[in-house]
Assembly symmetry: C2
Homo-oligomer: 590 residues x 2
């Protein structure tokens, strides 16, 4: 019999085990000496238990017990006893019992760790990343990976039960940078040529639909060589789904059912179906965002029609120039100090708003630098529209529709945070639909695809594709949870002619289109079924489920914001011979 097969995990230790002799395996969390006895908190993946070593039960082995230190790995045989009434530790699942050790084997020793293996650890992240193998021992990290495993299992069993096949797509693919920068891999066999690591399996999954696989999914690693923000990693994990013969209505309810199951089975959260849906236009109009947080109100209110003719030129001009004037009403904020209001003005300027106008409805009446520009009638119309009451402030931004939305959308979130309006345990799922197909990129002087170049236009907007491309809506959808985009997708183009038109609108010449995507265009000519799908960010979903605000906390071996692995020390310099074989050399940059 091996120690592993005898083993009882700490979480299994309770009053029903009292009297039994059990084999425990784990790490010494803490050792205390008291009254001639040695008390050890023994930690394993499942939890903690108190083990008591005494000379009486241990005999000669007691000397060995005296050598125990934090993070020693041990194998213990001991008898489970109930703790006396007053000694029960209610903070511990096994707190009703303790184990009286009868034998001890030290499986491995440990140097003093660079920091203590506890949850509320106050140590620089670079140290945690360097000693990642120690950091992973902390119970909260263990819980993250337990949940992460649970989530991917649920996903796989969900799609399996719906008749999907998980099919693996290549990691060594063709470079066709459309959005982000590719990671490249030099070819040894074909000098001067390179593979690219996939930014997503988009084209491959579409070709699986051409290949008659009908229902595909994959939990797959993707890569983007971009400068990293807090919630980005150079390699990340995506739940990737594609189906044939579907319309939007087939995909959305299915993904809702998946979310309901994940949230209920991992964190016990009940989520209601169906999820509310907002068109992109409605989301922008009401929340100034394509991923609105609907856990609180304070919606954007359009007052353009009320202020276009007023004496306040800033507002009147905005309307006259085809722009917008909108506001939000911050309830009960009338006592906000002037300094904070000025700060909010700076805040919205980071979103390109040129100013933030405001009306305070104090106990002593209206206070506002812009009040003087309005007639009494105009003012009362404004206040009626905003439903502002005594005690509120109304904030206004006047500019293009896009700047007004962006500035007020962010101001809304900022105020909600400051005012504590966000119910922390709410889970507000929703869909945003009918995204525009294209937007115009001023810098590149061309149209770019809002989702990606394979997204199908809405049928009723097809006639606008050439005359008014920016008005064309896409069969695209995003799932949003509490203001965070969880994932999104679309129905894809499945006809060569439309796909070519799209590439053309994106500024690709016919030659470039064929060079980059020729095999997809050709595939479209051989009986490609209508198809569509979604991609969800797994890392971000785990962050939301575990309440982490750093993506590095939900990845076992993450990279820093400069894309380094501090533990393994990657990237690193390699041997000249390796580069020669790959027909490349490094170039010194000044």
């Amino acid at each position: 019999m091996t120690i592993f097969s005898e083993r009882v995990e700490n979480e299994k230790l309770g009053l029903e085990k009292v009297g039994e002799v059990v084999r425990l395996l784990g790490w010494v969390q803490r050792r205390r000496d008291h009254g001639g006895l040695i008390f050890v908190d023994l930690r394993d993946r499942s939890g903690m238990v108190q083990v008591v070593f005494g000379p009486e039960n241990m005999g000669e082995g007691f000397t060995l017990a005296e050598s125990l230190r934090s993070e020693f790995v041990v194998s213990i045989l001991g008898r489970v006893i109930a703790r006396p009434q007053g000694m029960v530790n209610v903070n511990l699942a096994s707190g009703g019992i303790e184990v009286i050790a009868e034998s001890l084997e030290i499986l491995n020793g440990s140097k003093n760790p660079p920091y203590y293996i506890v949850d509320q650890v106050d140590v620089d992240e670079t140290v945690r990343l360097k000693y990642r193998y120690l950091d992973l021992r902390r119970p909260e990290m263990q819980n993250v990976f337990k949940i992460r495993h649970r989530v991917t299992q649920i996903m796989r069993n969900f799609f399996d039960s719906q008749g999907f096949y998980e099919i693996e797509t290549p990691m060594l693919t063709k470079s066709s940078p459309e959005g982000a920068r590719d990671y490249l891999v030099p070819s040894r066999v074909r000098p001067g040529e390179f593979y690219a690591l996939p930014q997503s399996p988009q084209i491959y999954k579409q070709l699986l639909m051409v290949g008659g696989m009908e229902k595909y999914f994959q939990i797959v690693r993707c890569f983007r060589d971009e400068d990293l923000r807090a919630d980005r990693q150079p390699e990340f994990t995506q739940l990737d789904v594609e189906m044939s013969f579907v319309e939007v209505e087939d995909i959305l309810p299915m993904m809702e059912r998946l979310m309901v199951q994940i949230f209920s089975e991992t964190i016990g959260k009940k989520v209601e179906m169906p999820f509310p849906r907002l068109t992109y236009k409605e989301a922008m109009d009401r929340f100034g965002s394509d991923k609105p947080d609907t856990r609180f109100g304070m919606e954007l209110i359009d007052v353009g029609d009320l202020v276009g003719k007023t004496g306040f030129k800033v507002f009147a001009n905005a309307v006259a120039n085809g722009g917008s004037v909108k506001c939000i009403c911050a309830k009960g904020c009338s006592s906000l100090p002037r300094r904070e209001i000025d700060e909010l003005g700076k805040f919205v300027s980071t979103y390109r708003a040129k100013g933030l106008a405001w009306i305070v409805l104090g106990e002593e009446g209206i206070k506002s630098p812009i009040a003087k520009f309005f007639t009494e009638l105009e003012m009362s119309a404004l206040l009626e529209r905003t439903r502002a009451e005594t005690g509120d402030i109304v904030f206004f931004v006047a500019d293009t529709y896009s700047i007004v939305s962006d500035a007020l959308g962010h101001l809304r979130l900022e105020l909600a945070k400051r005012l504590g309006l966000i119910p922390e345990d709410a889970m507000n799922f929703l869909w945003v639909t009918e995204f525009p197909l294209l937007e115009y990129d001023e810098e590149q002087q061309r149209h770019i695809a809002i989702h990606h170049p394979f997204t199908a236009p809405m049928d009723e907007d097809l006639p606008l594709l050439e005359s008014e491309p920016l008005s064309v809506r896409a069969k695209a959808y995003d799932m949003v949870l509490n203001g965070t985009e969880l994932g999104g997708g679309s129905i894809r183009i499945h006809k060569r002619g439309i796909q070519e038109k799209l590439f053309n609108l994106l500024g690709l010449s016919q030659e470039e289109a064929v060079d980059k995507f020729g095999y997809l265009l050709e595939a479209f000519e051989y009986g490609t079924p209508p198809h569509g799908g979604v991609a969800f960010g797994v890392d971000r979903m785990i962050m939301l489920l575990t309440g982490k605000d750093n993506i590095r906390d939900v990845i076992a071996f993450p990279k820093t914001q400069s894309a380094s692995d501090l533990m393994a020390q990657a990237p690193s310099v390699v041997a000249d011979k390796q580069l020669q074989e790959l027909h490349i050399k490094t170039v010194k940059t000044v």
Copy 2:
């Protein structure tokens, strides 16, 4: 209601559906016109069904039906009827019924495909790879990916039920080429530095054990930049498993249970447990191979003790020089023509054997060029040992143990194939254990690890580590099925001292060891539990389950033997700007 939600898959169509109107979706396999009607074999992922279009039921839509061609994608509403008695197609699951179409929508057309989408396709593999999306439509390919999905689902649910967590390890790792060549990825952020794509997650999974994860598994992509044989791909998929606190006895039965489940649930094959075990020495002695095919006998027989003193110098010298003389007895082959025997001599010479001696036991007595060197007594001792009877041939090789084993081991397989000795439906699983830890590489003039440098020596052989390293056996094991290695693993070293000694034996200086593996050595000092695991080749397992003999047939988008993707045309030349950003340039080689 969408067409997708109404849809009935072809496999669901049987006599119990007669009278119902069903929505069918799929591809036109074949269209025939007969007696004013149009007959279409409609193919979907699940199978085939016959659909009949007639002017009577279709009305004006009949004109549309007349435009149908192979590989058109269609949506059909039709009524299921029973076929008349004599018209039942027994080759088709739905052969008892046909569908009388009432309406037709062509979802997409198709050009004439470059080859027909049928199983017994006789077309060059380069064409199949270029049009991979068409090749995947063939029913046998669809079946491969159905089974492949089933296998990975079984694996995941198996390990989940045993308390394992699936944890993802990085794809952008540190280069430390020990065995094969690494694929490299230049870093943009750190000029002159490179990541490597993992050859396996070996070190990361060990660090997960240091990190207290206790039970880890992953189905993971791995990479090797080597010249490819028929059963290798530059990227391949591995079932990777690691556990803490285990011994060999904990791992082997677990993996057996997994195999029993996979073979039973995917191809309905009952596999007996426990699997036989052979030590490496026994496998080499009896079968001349560390992955013996035990579906037939013809084992190697040692006759060194009988021939060492005989007058046949070739044999006597081999024994005197510490080598071996062994033979196999090929039953009923006495009439093998001399030409074929000579061919077998050439065959063994490819395994470095200098000659193949033989004794034919024909009806007319013994025929053998070496018979004259033996006394009657010596000859009868030989024949007794080999249990040769009239009608057999005995083949001998004399050389070093290693050459004798290799040559006769391969001769044994070759003869079994020629003689049809291999029962095709047998599934002979076994374990080979107690591998040597090291072998000596003459070319590199140093020891190399037979499994990998992290494999633990057997406890009883530890004292030999310095004095006689080549005699040290490892806690390593391979699972073999019908002469193919399915996977293998080991208990790992978990103490820094032993790991350092191993690196040293492998010719790494202390500095090199720290440079390449310093983080692992350091980790070993902080309470590393005893641990071990396995890795199984998923692609190869699918090949065995589906009876394919080409690894490219079990990978959705495989690469050729020159590591090219003929469909996507990867690798390819990339933009100069991309290389500049990565601080590399390509080098022209002559």
